[in-house]
Symmetry: D2
Subunit: 490 residues, 4 copies
């Protein structure tokens, strides 16, 4: 029963989960304050653990890594005093490929720190290295000692073995051996370094704060510290930022950008701006597209809170069907809760959500959710809505069917656990016991993110592997472990 | 600066705050599980502390009282094992009149327990006793030892001094000496007792769960345990509930009901049902009334999250102006956060809220909020919206101006701190620096709660003292301490 | 197995245990610092919980009560800042009669506080009220609400009901209704009050610290704060101490003093002075008497650490047999330890004690212990000594056989669990499997405490009920519950 | 003032401190239970932190490393369940050379773990590597990433770079590059490995427990688990222990043994056996030698508790002057205590020790202590004794003057802080203000450990560098940092 308990964060167990958020700042007084604020704004990208490293010219490097939320670990004056200096980076994480589904151990909490002959450096990574196992094996063979189970640690060891004379040089050399998705924020004693993989799968943005600079996974982390959004780091770009300014490098072979389309659908915060587009408006657009593609006669459009909200508003605005909060979320959810008596069913969801019974009774309800992963939550929500006396229940999903796992820094179940990998829309309707269920089409989704012609099959503008099974970077470790990529027939 | 830090809960510092929620259950296995769940659903009524008392036929009474949230204190199997039995009550609280603005001490955390010659009893109280100081003085004079600073403890001492032969008899006798607002859940070894003051200021409902019964401040707490909502306890009614059934008594002089109208506006959860009305729908109605009373030409209707949401939806539906989430709330707020550098302004609000800049820019925005108390938050939100480039900002408030303190179990600032006590609407508009601000009229509010003719001036159906200054129960302790009630001129 | 786990303190589970220590100070800056130090020095009198109450002229009364050791709870600057003022009292406790063998609840932790019409007072009590149940029953009947299960709370309620016009007057009136043993330290806003029962069963001393005064259970608590020992409070005396001086009262019917002789044997710290006598020297004397009464040819005299040490030194000095540390105590014992594998026997004792094998092997060993209660530890120690290859084991016990429970503030097993209540010395020798076991005679003990003629049968100078079964104060609650006092035949 | 506060353990701040204890076991059910017990028995060798690594054939390696005492971290069933398996090692530490006088960071807590191409290994180390800085510099240059500041981590990296095909082979190869003192317990999935440096500076013993085997720093750790003491690991020996038996290797160039003589004087527990000798008896012997070398007419011989006790007993037995506990130690010392008011002097010592005033008054007292390091404590104790009215105070010290720092795993102050480095015995007498102070001669000490002829100047049997300044292993890192070894003139 305990594995049905709801998690601490508002995003459901039955969701894909972004695995990390990164933040860095240079040229400010008390950098750790800014890093803590930035990480707090990025908390939705990882709730399990967080860490901060700073450097102070007098006392050297300082670090603190903790399990739990930023607000619980990095808010005291005592903690901030332990992290002095005008440069710092930080990381929040959910869990990494490295931890093999187990809980994060403290030794896996980033940023990672390495001492090189020319001085120390710390690194924080959002993404996933797809050849990490092969790299690790090779490095161990040559005498490297790994302290964590994280793929990120490979980068540190590659840097340690590099002959480069500066840390940015070593990082360039190391990252050229790395395959996969990475948005990295790193630091030396004086330099803040940002880097995105050649395809730019994960986001990374640059901001200006007074005389200083900040790097962050999303613009919402710039907003919280009052920084001005300057620009996105480009795919394949490495920036080296000091108090004096920003220098830009392109160490990798150029490639066509393939930004993760799911960042638009779900991962990023609605108040962030991705690729020049408001995430909130994109999601509202998705709702509008969905209303056009999959209309249905009904009395109410209700979001599955909170992530379905913008698409539900869009659906309502497009369809003219009134928007209403048919499901109320409890604001005080915790990670664990009592194991309820057997006589109480569906407790997991009930602890988190309650149906607005008086509103729902007798109504034909459209429920808008962002995605369906295993389908377990959708099923429970449907039951709650029907128990409350709804006349009809129609699911509208703001993403195409999620049929393939992500290997680029998102926690996805194994393929066979994905509902869309084993069922058609019709089978899902029956399985979930609803009156209808419709997903937005892949072309509809591309339209919503501004590709008026939909998806360019030969040259898609985004990484959409979780929907299409087309992996822009070969997941080599996974293939070695038996993962079967899409065949021509699929 | 630290006193401007935002609180842990989503309701702002600049809100009126309900002070308590109560819950009780009898005739179920492992009553403590149900009580914990019920209190969790009532957490919005008090986040500072909580307590549970149970009785087990073999091991007697058990209790646990803790500072903090239900989810953090009452969720472990160990804790539940410490609270055995098939009958139990619980309480969550924000702070009471008794604590004089200080933090709650653990000795003030309810339920309170008393040992009488015929056995023990525990009591949990939502409301406020308006003659508590006078009662306390008299009881101490006669040899009672008070262990808390809570007004509720008077009831226990009055019961101890009663000659009544049963605990319900003693409670009746005690409560007849008490003035004020009270919804009480109490228990003996075998009886669950519920009672509302003659005016029924605070809510209390009865539910059926299998062979057992539950009492709760709101119906949402019945929903979470899967109980069926039976009926509200009537004003002035005392129910004595055992496994065998419910007996009803009316020990007090009959009076006309004066339920707190602010429960509809803000305190109660939107998925609860009050007086036969869905709270959510009432709030949507308020928004509709507001759109009729105070229309304005604009591009977007945005709620101040989260409490302004239903009224904003109503305003949008009535006016046809699109509804949008112009302000995003951070889901991970904590009670404390770092003291930011001086160069960062308005941090308190930014930690909690961020403006959806891309959406707001260049738009004329209607912001719908539930109430204005001190006005400090309204001012900061306005600044954030303007910083983000809004063309116009119009506040629409889903309650009349809050000009008088509440003495019936709600934490309100002193009168002089209430913006509406010192300013007209026009002055507020200037003070807040917005393009317009409009409150719903008192008649509009009464219409939204179903009184088609608006407020009956001679015989109002609700307690609306915070708006009207007409106190249905004389606040005698406060008058003794110098509070000046409304004069004929006001 | 878990109930064989060793306790946190160095005194064994198989010992009688003093239940409380009290301390108070007036006329000093930062009284709480002094109270914390005093309680730390009295920690051997109670390790389960502690509390401090202070009064500050500006901010009123302050209190903190905590489970655990003084060093863990009352040592931080934060805690001390919460307890301001120039007058304060404190209490450490093991457990009281009230808690009926269960763990102390926080509500039972003293000092207790009561608010009277003329102001507040706090009280801390060492001893036991032998008519507490009868008093409690009567007080509840009259409307008092008890908040704890402690006998001490009766005193507060008796004071609340007194018509006395000052708090000392009320305390006098209350204590006159109380039977039993009590050494009390109490305080009002300005007065420190000390009182001993008419027989003076428990100790209480007065000290001078600069311009201020201190009261303490033992002189070692005066030493730690650098106070000068002035005198003992006399049996039946009440002192009221202010910054201006000490006034003395004798409110009770005069009686002959009967100080607890076991304070000399075991309870008090060896560096304290009781009745003008060094506790350490008395214990050394006991060892000398024992060597005279029960000589034996052997190679080594070893104490059972740590309480048997002074008597073992005395035995060695008298007998000329070399003193040696045959048993070594682990300094790092904790309250709990892992449940060891079944293959490891006698773990409980081994975690705490280890035999000095190389020293013991082949030797005839005299083991000196302070007392034998259940005999369980004696048996395990004997086994360890024999396992290590000792040729002979002779127990010498520095107190007469403990055959009767104490009702005056000491935690004793029920009579049937006391080894000496069911066995003769010969039977014990066989039961324990040792070569000999001898207890000091009651006359020998009296000689060691300076009564050259031994015990005056008609008029004994001490309370020795645990040895003699002669109770100087009738244990009326216990008799009501079925305790059978000594018959003429015994 | 706070840095004068006494530490948690009974050994004074003003003592040399052993830095580590190691323990390992193989071939038992629930190895972690045994490791926890063994570490508990070795707690006197390190109180700051501890760690355990185990290996389970099904679930692999497990580890837990914690700040604080074994009893507080490794006693719960939950913790033990996290450490399954039949093989395990553990470590307790005070602080290491690596941490440069700062508090231990959790990353410095051993055992250290490394993953090699043939599998994982963990290592725990007592001692100090004297060329660690040089090794570290070289390893970093070649691409090793250090995760701790500990000298021990060098061994792991040397092993990682070795071409050896088994872990024991790699350890041999690695240790051949290491200079200094080391007693190591290590483990692979199936093998328990023990190793001592060629001079055997630190102790390491082998025990038999049922069908399994144990390695421990001292025999007292074998006693606690009920293991039989088999033999000491020889200087320069490496043993590889599996369930099937023990194989012995001598990988290093043979050298003459130089065991640390201070282990006999102070570090080891009195119930341990070192080099076939009872530590307790050696210390008693030291006391006897001291009485012969430095007799004085006095009334009492008192130990400075607790470490001076055996030597005080020896002095008393030899001199015939009665032994007495003139100073009483508080059993409940904690790591921190309140910062006392300025009016209270010498609080640091008073919190820990109290003089038995009644005993001491007017007496000529011989105080026996194990060593004098800075002399700060000796001075305070002298003051306490004189304050209590002693007629004369004579210090007798159970070790020669400590005039040189230790570089082999003992925490010593810099040379200029050592009292004996700057003063003669006469100067110390004046400085301390005592009637006399005498140290045992170096020859007396050698006689007490069984070298009838005293110290062989050309070929001393022990490492006595802290007394003689003759370092058997060149402290190369320290010399590089400017340490000046003894010149011919000294």
């Amino acid at each position: 029963m305990s594995n049905q308990m709801p998690p601490a964060h508002p995003f459901d167990d039955d969701k894909l989960r972004e695995e990390c958020g990164v933040f860095g700042v240079v040229g400010v007084t008390d950098a750790s304050n800014f890093v803590a604020l930035g990480l707090h704004a990025l908390q939705h990208r990882g709730q399990e653990a967080g860490g901060i490293v700073t450097h102070d010219t007098e006392t050297g490097f300082h670090q603190a890594r903790r399990m739990g939320l930023v607000r619980d670990n990095f808010t005291s004056a005592d903690m901030m005093a332990m992290l002095p200096g005008s440069i710092g980076i930080g990381h929040v994480r959910y869990s990494t490929a490295g931890s093999k589904g187990q809980q994060t151990a403290i030794r896996d909490v980033q940023p990672f720190f390495g001492e090189f002959s020319m001085g120390g450096a710390a690194i924080a990574h959002n993404g996933n290295i797809t050849n990490a196992l092969a790299l690790r094996r090779e490095l161990i063979e040559r005498g490297s000692i790994f302290q964590s189970s994280s793929d990120t640690e490979c980068i540190i060891h590659l840097m340690a073995r590099s002959m480069g004379r500066t840390i940015p040089d070593r990082m360039e050399e190391g990252l050229r051996k790395v395959e996969g998705a990475f948005s990295i924020v790193a630091m030396t004693r004086t330099k803040l370094i940002g880097c995105r993989d050649p395809l730019g799968v994960r986001p990374l943005v640059l901001g200006r704060i007074g005389e200083g600079w900040a790097l962050a996974s999303e613009t919402c982390a710039l907003d919280i510290i009052g920084a001005e959004f300057v620009r996105e780091i480009e795919p394949g770009e490495m920036v080296v930022v000091t108090e004096k300014g920003v220098s830009s490098h392109f160490p990798f072979r150029r490639a066509k950008s393939r930004f993760c389309i799911f960042e638009h659908v779900y991962f990023s915060r609605p108040d962030s701006i991705l690729g020049g587009r408001s995430v909130y408006e994109t999601r509202e657009n998705i709702g509008r597209e969905l209303a056009k593609e999959a209309p249905v006669d009904a009395d109410l459009v209700c979001p599955v809170p909170d992530s379905g909200t913008p698409a539900a508003i869009g659906y309502s605005l497009q369809s003219g069907i009134p928007y209403a909060m048919g499901i109320i979320r409890n604001q005080y959810m915790g990670r664990t809760f009592i194991e309820p008596s057997e006589s109480i069913r569906n407790m997991g969801v009930r602890l988190k959500l309650n149906v607005n019974r008086a509103l729902i009774k007798g109504k034909r309800v459209i429920l808008v959710d962002d995605s369906v992963v295993r389908g377990t939550t959708s099923r429970k929500i449907k039951e709650m809505i029907l128990d409350a006396g709804a006349a009809e229940v129609h699911f509208r999903i703001a993403s195409p069917p999620t049929a393939w796992p992500c290997f680029y820094g998102v926690d996805t179940p194994q393929r066979e656990k994905l509902l869309a990998a084993t069922m058609t829309e019709d089978q899902m309707r029956e399985h979930l016991g609803v009156d209808s269920i419709k997903f937005i089409s892949i072309n509809g989704l591309y339209r919503a993110v501004g590709q008026a012609k939909g998806r360019d099959k030969k040259n898609p503008a985004y990484c959409d592997a979780c929907f299409s099974g087309e992996y822009p970077i070969a997941p080599s470790d996974m293939i070695e472990q038996g993962f079967k990529a899409k065949t021509a027939a699929e």
